[in-house]
C-alpha cells in the first residue's frame, strides 16, 4: 500500500493547488474514490451479465442478507465497522442455499428470490433491532445506505481482492455463463457445466455485493449492478458497446456520487448519491432511445 500512499500525497498536493476537486484533499474522500475506481468497472461489467441473466433481484436478496451478516458479526464480537467474516460467510451460505433451492424446485425464479429476499430482510431487520442497543444507529444507517466516511484500508484491500477474483473468474467464463442463460441445453451440448456456471455466477454476485456494502449500502448495491447496465442497453446494439458503456456509466456514477456531495456540501449518503447519478444516466439514455431513431431497435 506504499504506492497508494505516495499517490495519495500527490493527489492531496494537486487538490491543494486546485488542479483536482478540493474534496480529494481528505483521506476518506481519496479512499472512497479509489473504491469507486475499483468497484465501478466490476459492477458495470457484472451488471451486463445480471441484466442478461435476469438476476437483478438476486443481488437485492444478497444485499438484504448482508444485514443479517452484520448483525451476526456484532453478536459474535466482530468489529461492527467491518464484520466481513460473518457477512461473507452468511451471504455465501444464503446464496448457495437460494441457488440450490432454485435448482431443486420447479418454482419460478422470481417467486423464489422474492421469498428469500423477504426472509433475509425480516431476519436482518429483526437482528439489527436486537443489537441496536449495542451499536450507534449511524452504523446501521451506513450499512443500509453506504458511507464513505467509514471506508478504510481494510475495506479497500477487501474490495481490491474481491474485484480481481471476480474479474479473473468472470472474464474467461463470460461466454459460457451467457450461453447457459440463453439455452441451457445448447450450452450443455457445447460442454458447458451449466449448474456449475450458475453457482459460480451466484458466488460472484454475492462476494461483490458484500464487498460493496460499506460504500454503496446493502439496500442499494443491486441498483448499481442494474442501472448502469440498463442505461447502456438503451444505447447499444452489440455486446462490446453494452459492456463498455455499462462500465463507463458505473465508474462515472461512483465518482460523481462521491465527489459532487462533497464538493457542494450536500448531506446525503454516498450510496444514495451514486444511485441517483446512475439514475440520471438511465433517464438521459431512455430519452435518447425514445426520441433519437438511431437508438431505437427495428420492429419485426
Amino acid at each position: 500500500m506504499m504506492g497508494l500512499e505516495g499517490f495519495q500525497q500527490e493527489i492531496m498536493m494537486m487538490a491543494g493547488r486546485g488542479i483536482v476537486p478540493w474534496a480529494l484533499y481528505y483521506e476518506f474522500v481519496f479512499n472512497a474514490v479509489i473504491c469507486a475506481l475499483i468497484i465501478g468497472p466490476v459492477l458495470g461489467a457484472l451488471g451486463t451479465m445480471v441484466v442478461a441473466k435476469r438476476m437483478a433481484f438476486f443481488s437485492q436478496a444478497v444485499g438484504n442478507a448482508a444485514l443479517t451478516g452484520v448483525a451476526i458479526g456484532v453478536l459474535i464480537g466482530e468489529s461492527y465497522t467491518s464484520p466481513y467474516i460473518s457477512m461473507f460467510s452468511f451471504c455465501i451460505l444464503f446464496a448457495l442455499l437460494l441457488n440450490f433451492t432454485r435448482n431443486h424446485t420447479k418454482m419460478a425464479s422470481d417467486t423464489l428470490i422474492g421469498v428469500f429476499l423477504s426472509i433475509s430482510l425480516a431476519l436482518g431487520a429483526s437482528l439489527l433491532l436486537f443489537i441496536s442497543a449495542k451499536v450507534n444507529t449511524h452504523i446501521l444507517e451506513s450499512i443500509l445506505f453506504g458511507s464513505i466516511l467509514t471506508v478504510n484500508q481494510l475495506d479497500i484491500s477487501v474490495l481490491f481482492f474481491v474485484s480481481v477474483l471476480v474479474l479473473a473468474t468472470g472474464i474467461p467464463l463470460f461466454n459460457r455463463m451467457l450461453l447457459s442463460s440463453l439455452n441451457p441445453a445448447l450450452a450443455h451440448v457445447r460442454g458447458v457445466k451449466v449448474q456449475l456456471m450458475e453457482y459460480i455466477f451466484v458466488l460472484m454476485i454475492t462476494v461483490v455485493t458484500v464487498a460493496c456494502v460499506k460504500i454503496i449500502g446493502a439496500v442499494l448495491v443491486e441498483a448499481l449492478l442494474l442501472i448502469p447496465a440498463a442505461a447502456a442497453r438503451n444505447l447499444n446494439r452489440s455486446l462490446g458497446g453494452f459492456m463498455l458503456w455499462s462500465v463507463i456509466f458505473s465508474v462515472s456514477s461512483c465518482l460523481m456520487g462521491i465527489i459532487i456531495p462533497m464538493q457542494f456540501d450536500i448531506p446525503i449518503p454516498s450510496g444514495g448519491a451514486i444511485i441517483l447519478c446512475a439514475a440520471c444516466f438511465f433517464l438521459i439514455t431512455s430519452l435518447m432511445r425514445g426520441f433519437m431513431p438511431q437508438f431505437r431497435e427495428a420492429k419485426i
Binding site: N175, L179, N183, L186, R233, G240
Partner: protein, 242 residues
C-alpha cells in the same frame, strides 16, 4: 462419418410419472432418423437422454468415428429480446472461449462467415438476435450447430417458425449433411416432411409404438397424427436396436 447410436431399453421417470419406458431405437451414419409422436409423448426427453442431459435407465451406446462433435439445434432461445447481442456476438459466444464482447477471433471468422452464408444470414451479422424474425433465429441456431463441423446433428423441432424459403434451406442442408455421412436425429411434427426427408422413423408415446424405415412405418393414420392407430404390427421394435 457420424456415430451409430443404439438406444436399448431406455427408461425415464420423474417423480411418480413415467416419461419413457423401454425405448429401443437405432440411428445410423448417413441417415436422417426422425422421432415423432404426440405432444407430451417423450420425444424431447428421448433426445435429452441421448445427449446425456437427463438421468435415465437402460443403455445408450455410441460408436463414434474420429469426429465426436455434436451439433445441436434447440427449439428456441429464451432471452430478453432487447438484449444487445448481435448475430456475430452469438456466433462468437458459441465458437470461442475469449469473451464475446472482445469480438470474434481471426481463426473463427471464415468458419462463422461460411455457416451464416449456408443459412442465408450473411449481411445480418450486426443485427441484434432479438430483431431477427422467428425463422431467421432458427436459421441462426442451425448455423451455430455447424461449428465446429459436427458428426452428429440433433434437431429438436427447429422448423416451427420457418417459412417456405427457410424450410428449403434446412432440407437442402440436411440432405448435404446426410450425403457426407453425418448422423441426424430429428424431433419433428411435420409428418409430410418426415416422409419426404427421413430415412428411418421412431414413433414414441411414452413407449415405442413403431421404429424402422420410414416407408414401412408411416401409415396413413399416422400421417394425420393418429399415432396409435394402424401401426404396422410386423415391425419388431426391440429387435431393431439389437
Amino acid at each position: 462419418m457420424g456415430p451409430k447410436i443404439s438406444v436399448l431399453n431406455l427408461g425415464l421417470s420423474l417423480g411418480n410419472s413415467t416419461i419413457l419406458s423401454n425405448i429401443n431405437m437405432l440411428a445410423k451414419p448417413g441417415e436422417v432418423h426422425c422421432i415423432v409422436g404426440p405432444n407430451g409423448g417423450g420425444k424431447t426427453s428421448t433426445l435429452r437422454c441421448i445427449l446425456g442431459q437427463m438421468p435415465h435407465t437402460g443403455d445408450i451406446q455410441f460408436e463414434w468415428g474420429e469426429n465426436k462433435c455434436i451439433g445441436y439445434v434447440p427449439q428456441f432461445l429464451d432471452f430478453d429480446k432487447t438484449l444487445p447481442v448481435t448475430v456475430n456476438n452469438f456466433m462468437t459466444m458459441v465458437c470461442q472461449n475469449t469473451p464475446a464482447f472482445l469480438g470474434l477471433r481471426k481463426k473463427y471468422r471464415e468458419a462463422v462467415a461460411a455457416a451464416l452464408d449456408i443459412v442465408k444470414l450473411n449481411g445480418k451479422e450486426k443485427t441484434m438476435i432479438g430483431n431477427l424474425s422467428g425463422g431467421e433465429r432458427q436459421r441462426l441456431l442451425f448455423a451455430q450447430a455447424l461449428i465446429p463441423e459436427p458428426s452428429l446433428v440433433v434437431l429438436d423441432e427447429p422448423m416451427t417458425s420457418l417459412d417456405e424459403a427457410g424450410i428449403t434451406i434446412f432440407e437442402d442442408l440436411i440432405q448435404d449433411l446426410t450425403a457426407r455421412g453425418k448422423t441426424l436425429l430429428w424431433v419433428n411434427h411435420d409428418m409430410a416432411q418426415v416422409k419426404r426427408v427421413s430415412t428411418r422413423v421412431t414413433v414414441i408415446d411414452t413407449e415405442v409404438i413403431a421404429s424402422g424405415p420410414t416407408n414401412e412405418i408411416l401409415t396413413e393414420p399416422m400421417m394425420h397424427g393418429n399415432f396409435r392407430a394402424g401401426s404396422p404390427p410386423s415391425i419388431k421394435v426391440s429387435g431393431e436396436a439389437a
